[in-house]
């Protein structure tokens, strides 16, 4: 373990530019996100993730936000274990009827002010599962949604962009009231 840790002193950060990714876009996003998050929420934004019947694809990409390439915590954004600690609910899936209650109860357990992000194509309107007897069909059918991030699943950079958009909007709303 010491060897591995020692090596990372010399190898430099793992956040090296990836060949296919526009690193400046990520940097831009990172900087803007930081400004907006601070204006509204000080230094932190706490997100509670709720899987309301997704295929787990969205969860994989949300997980990826925490890897060394994206390192979402450096922006003060973190995923928390309880809705009681959360500012934002990030909801995935078409909202199955079997999860409807749990989603509502989690929403009510989250203190105000709170925002809801519907993540992924099926969270918007049920996506390819719309019309099923077992599906409500979209997060906004159950709880008010502030932002929808499209994709099946949205890649981590898109999720970061979505968080930025949400923060910008909440900052503007706060300024106008």
């Amino acid at each position: 373990m010491r060897k591995l840790l020692f090596q990372s002193f010399f190898r430099g950060p793992l956040t090296e530019p990836a060949p296919a990714l526009d690193e400046t876009a990520v940097e831009e996003l990172a900087a803007a996100l930081k400004r907006a998050a601070r204006r509204r929420l000080g230094r932190s934004l706490s997100i509670r993730e709720i899987d309301a019947g997704s295929c787990n694809g969205c969860e994989l990409e949300i997980h990826a936000l925490s890897n060394a390439y994206y390192d979402v915590e450096r922006f003060g954004i973190r995923f928390v274990a309880s809705p009681r600690h959360a500012d934002v609910l990030m909801v995935t899936g078409p909202v199955t009827k079997n999860m409807r209650d749990a989603l509502e109860r989690t929403y009510h357990a989250t203190p105000d002010p709170k925002w809801v992000i519907a993540l992924g194509d099926c969270a918007r309107d049920g996506g390819c599962f719309a019309g099923s007897y077992a599906v409500v069909g979209g997060v906004s059918q159950v709880v008010p949604v502030d932002l929808h991030i499209p994709g099946c699943p949205p890649p981590p950079v898109t999720i970061l962009q979505g968080l930025l958009a949400l923060l910008d909007r909440t900052a503007k709303t706060a300024a106008s009231t």
Partner: protein
């Protein structure tokens, strides 16, 4: 032991079922088959319903012969398989929920996927109105002094899928764990009905996000079996590349996550970098990080160009260089080994009885790997080993993954070395009259089974069986007598799919 062939001689063989036979039997032979499962000569691959028929897919443990056995039950009652063979319990409960077919003497008659929230009952058969009141779900009892219950979920603390775990603990020790699933039930099999093969492939690819390649692969192969399509060689080989990349990405993520659940975050940090490299390379090569909708019936929807090939090579080479240090780190960290060795043991008898696929089975002495037997192209042309251990603990499940990472690296490189040229896809023409087919594909988690009947270019019935069906129950067994705090570790070492099981 009488072979499947003997059974075929006694039953009525259905033509137009590929590549393995389907036999319609009477109740007597159905019970005989259930007995064979209980005796261990055969393993259960799947058990599913239609409005007045039940089917089971079985595989002979020695010869890897596969057959589907069907029983007509116009009275909507059939002899229970799980009465003799417990791995069928949840499947029979599901058949009752979806079709209203009752398994006679079913040991557990509680609903499984139906939480009485759909507004209807028996959604895949003649629907009737839902019950007006919801009776509380009765969890199984655990009696004794000082027992307490811990209820977890469906919304969990981590970023994972929803499900409910009911622990009964005596102090720190888990006496009983009972799972309650079905929260992510989306009604995919009902959505499949009456749709085109293309839409079917899209839905299949969304059964379980981490196995989107495996499901598209299995669905496409089932469709091709129905339609007797020969897929171009290049597509056959590229499919294996996709499947191995998916396996690599998932195993790397899992190895890190298991260690993280033992509070060893360093391992996860490094593993997730390697995982991300695979996803990025997949994105460059196939236009999607999880490679969704790339495998389609008839072939492949997208070709691999030089740039994609180079990016995959680079990712594979990087893992080849970096991974050995991580294996060493895992192997030499005593505090980590202290958590994983001897924790959450699945006995080989249980793994065999439940025909547990993937690393869960192979860490407990079960050698099954669908790539090898029954086997499918191009794997018979590729060199690979199927790692097997006997210990059955969390540590063994980590080591199986480690060895499979090495095998997948080798397999992916072999495919890139020998990738044939030529066309990528053949058109999918509508067949005349109903035809049936099935396929078994080894996903990262285990064997994914798809059974399909097409009629006039439309899907008449599609059954998708996730490997988790036969792994979830073993998690209940594995955690017994372990401490509550080791549950996340055990759970992650299984990494069963909720969505794949709930469908």
């Amino acid at each position: 032991m009488p072979s499947l062939i003997d059974l075929m001689l006694e039953g009525r063989k259905i033509r137009q079922h590929s590549p393995w036979p389907r036999i319609v039997v009477d109740a007597h032979l159905w019970k005989y088959a259930a007995g064979e499962l209980a005796q261990g000569g055969w393993s259960l691959l799947g058990l599913w319903g239609e409005p007045t028929t039940v089917h089971m897919a079985v595989i002979d443990r020695d010869t890897a012969e596969v057959a589907v056995i069907s029983l007509d039950c116009p009275s909507r009652v059939y002899p229970s398989v799980s009465q003799h063979h417990p791995p069928a319990i949840r499947l029979e409960r599901t058949i009752n929920d979806l079709f209203g077919l009752t398994a006679e003497d079913l040991p557990d008659a509680r609903p499984w996927l139906d939480h009485n929230r759909w507004g209807v009952r028996f959604p895949l058969s003649d629907r009737i109105d839902a019950l007006s009141t919801t009776a509380p779900y009765r969890f199984l009892a655990a009696e004794g002094d000082g027992m307490h219950q811990i209820a977890v979920g469906p919304v969990h603390a981590g970023i994972i899928e929803p499900g409910h775990f009911r622990f009964t603990a005596s102090g720190e020790t888990v006496v009983r764990l009972e799972q309650r699933l079905g929260y992510t039930h989306k009604g995919i099999e009902a959505l499949m009905r009456g749709t085109s093969v293309e839409r079917g492939a899209e839905l299949a690819g969304r059964v379980s996000g981490d196995s989107t390649v495996a499901y598209a692969y299995a669905f496409s192969r089932a469709a091709e079996a129905v339609l007797q399509l020969a897929v171009p060689e290049r597509a056959v080989w590229l499919r294996a590349l996709l499947a191995e990349l998916e396996r690599l990405a998932n195993h790397l993520g899992d190895i890190g996550a298991i260690c993280n659940d033992a509070s060893f975050g360093l391992m996860q940090a490094h593993c997730n970098v390697l995982r991300e490299d695979v996803l990025r390379a997949s994105n460059i090569a196939f236009g999607h990080r999880l490679m969704r909708d790339v495998i389609v019936p008839g072939g492949l929807g997208r070709d691999l160009d030089e740039k994609g090939r180079a990016s995959i090579r680079a990712a594979l080479d990087n893992i080849h260089i970096r991974f050995p240090a991580l294996i060493e780190l895992y192997d030499n960290t005593a505090s980590l080994q202290d958590r994983t060795v001897g924790t959450g043991i699945v006995t080989s008898a249980l793994a065999r009885q439940y025909a547990a696929g993937g690393y869960v089975g192979r860490a407990s002495g079960r050698t099954f790997d669908a790539r090898r037997a029954p086997g499918y192209a191009p794997y018979h042309d590729l060199r690979f080993e199927v790692p097997v251990l006997d210990e059955g603990d969390v540590n063994a499940r980590v080591w199986i993954r480690i060895r499979e990472v090495e095998q997948s690296l080798s397999l992916a490189n072999q495919v890139l070395d020998r990738l044939p040229g030529g066309p990528l896809r053949v058109p999918v023409a509508a067949e005349a009259g109903p035809r049936e087919g099935m396929a078994l594909v080894e996903g990262f988690r285990g064997d994914v089974m798809v059974w399909l009947r097409l009629d006039g270019g439309r899907i008449d019935r599609c059954y998708l069986r996730d490997p988790s069906w036969f792994q979830w129950p073993l998690l209940e067994a594995a955690i017994e007598d372990n401490i509550v705090a080791d549950f996340p570790l055990c759970n992650k070492s299984f990494n069963c799919s909720y969505s794949g099981q709930d469908l």
